[in-house]
Symmetry: C2
Subunit: 328 residues, 2 copies
């Protein structure tokens, strides 16, 4: 019997989950939940119902794993501990600083309910975290580097849109090639924020707006841009929509370390992602961990988990024999 | 109390284990076992005994995990099922085709003894396998590529040394840059053996040897070289020792896949290693999994395991709280 997946929230991530579920033969989409009026939400999968989010608990027996597609700022801190009372859940909570408290909240609720809640799944946190962990355990004497991009930062794009005179904007985070190269060469550079990434902005200005002021407001914006070399390119709104509507992202996790009697041998471990669609890739990771949540719970596990706590074989629909024969 | 590590076999890998144990504060080297006369084996760690391999079982209470550093052809198929009767063990068994039967043998003996035996640990099989598995579970609709090198192949170097007129030799396996680039671009190329790797040979010939015959014997050698573009460089034995004594290796595991309603979005996951010393890096991986073997056994686990079966957190000396706070 297929694993029955529920989707909570039908934005970019929710639509990505829907696509990913279709690619996995051992899964089926059971329901979509939304805070909007369900009659206004059109999904791609025929015969699957869209319910009000408020009614989710009533459908708990129809769903094996509920994938939570809300945001980390306000949705997930409430939703994950709430829905894990009724479902095995997976979320992509990505506010790094608040992971410990989120974990504790989900763990308590999940254990009380006998369900599994896997938090902070995606690529960072997620696959990047896993690669940091593996690389740290292997190269004990070494240094870690994470670079993000080239990719769209939603938060930075939003920040630009709030600048006076800006109609629309997209911001790309770009790793500095020279820094990346130095790390790959095992030079273990100390890199400032400015030395690691640049920020490329594409801005459609309102008619008659003061472009000089826009540039100045962007490049001096504290936290978002002031610590970076930022370039601002003015484009028409048509061009912005035509050339900058995608949501690509990616990045690099590199650990550089030394071994030997006197640290005479250098080693570089590098993991990288090049993604046409950030939310669709994140969705694929969430769906693989939904399988793990289902299987772990079937074995009697409960509580909060992260990617660190889950043996890789749980992500696969293949048996241990098949995995050893074909992928080991 | 530190995890007490034993080393079975003191060659390149055994010496690498000794170095790696020193880098890990929660471990200590307890003993080295050898099939040679122990009085002829000088190790680097003061105060640690070298015992005859035949006496290993007598020391079972002094050791938490025995790391088996023998070869996959004849040593490990016998040693792993034998020593897991007395110890938790980790090996680097790398004959891919025989992994299923090796796993079955180790599993039966390990379960009977209540010990853990982790097999096929290293980078391929090992970290490369893990990355193949994770990437396959995430990008369901995609293609896998593994490239090895640039690095020394011991087996191919040995094969050249058996050619008439060859005094000494080293062989490097080198990925073809054009093939690597096509894969990274998501072109999903179909690649023949010849299109993926080239083979570079450095040969010190005996005096008066027929170099033309040597080249011909190498490049036409079935299985080893006939299916590759092979170059043979003649060098003096001094130059061979001076410039080609290292044991570097590495490689790339790439998965290229598609997502979306109609597969409209491409994604590339790439994992790569650049290693100055193949045996020292492999040793670091073995030591991290020795920690996992110890902890799993403490929790009551027994039987054969592979990297697929072990949650990443078991490799780390840090607590779940620390890992979530700093690496997630």
């Amino acid at each position: 019997m297929a694993i029955r997946i529920g989707i909570m929230g039908y934005g970019n991530l929710g639509r990505g989950i829907e696509c990913a579920v279709k690619q996995n033969d051992d899964m089926e989409l059971a329901a979509v939940f939304t805070r909007r009026d369900p009659s206004t939400v059109k999904i791609q999968t025929e015969g699957v119902a869209v319910y009000p989010a408020a009614d989710a608990a009533a459908h708990k027996d129809e769903i094996d794993v509920l994938i939570l597609c809300g945001g980390s700022a306000t949705d997930l801190p409430e939703q994950t501990p709430e829905y894990v009372k009724y479902f095995n859940v997976v979320d992509s909570f990505d506010t790094h600083a608040n992971i410990p408290s989120h974990f504790a909240n989900v763990d308590a609720a999940a254990k009380a309910a006998g369900n599994v809640g896997i938090i902070s799944v995606g690529w960072d946190p997620g696959m990047f975290s896993l690669n940091r962990l593996y690389a740290n355990c292997i190269l004990v004497d070494g240094a870690d580097y994470t670079f993000w991009g080239k990719g769209v930062s939603q938060g930075h794009s939003d920040a630009i849109r709030r600048v006076k005179g800006v109609k629309n904007a997209k911001q790309y985070t770009v790793p500095v090639p020279k820094a990346l190269e130095a790390v790959r060469n095992g030079e273990n550079p100390e890199l400032s924020t400015r030395q690691k990434h640049t920020r490329e902005c594409y801005v459609a200005a309102e008619e008659g707006a003061d472009k000089e002021q826009i540039v100045n407001d962007i490049v001096t914006m504290p936290n978002y841009f002031a610590d970076y070399d930022t370039t601002v390119n003015f484009v028409s709104e048509e061009e912005l929509i035509k050339n900058h509507s995608g949501i690509p992202h990616g990045g690099f996790v590199i650990r550089s370390g030394r071994t030997g009697q006197n640290g005479e041998n250098k080693h570089i471990i590098e993991y990288s992602l090049k993604l046409d669609s950030n939310p669709e890739f994140t969705s694929c990771v969430l769906v693989a961990y939904a399988r793990a949540a289902y299987r772990l719970n079937k074995e009697g596990a409960s509580g909060a988990k992260t990617v660190f706590d889950i043996a890789p074989a749980y992500l696969s629909s293949k048996s241990g024999e098949e995995l050893r024969a074909h992928l080991l």
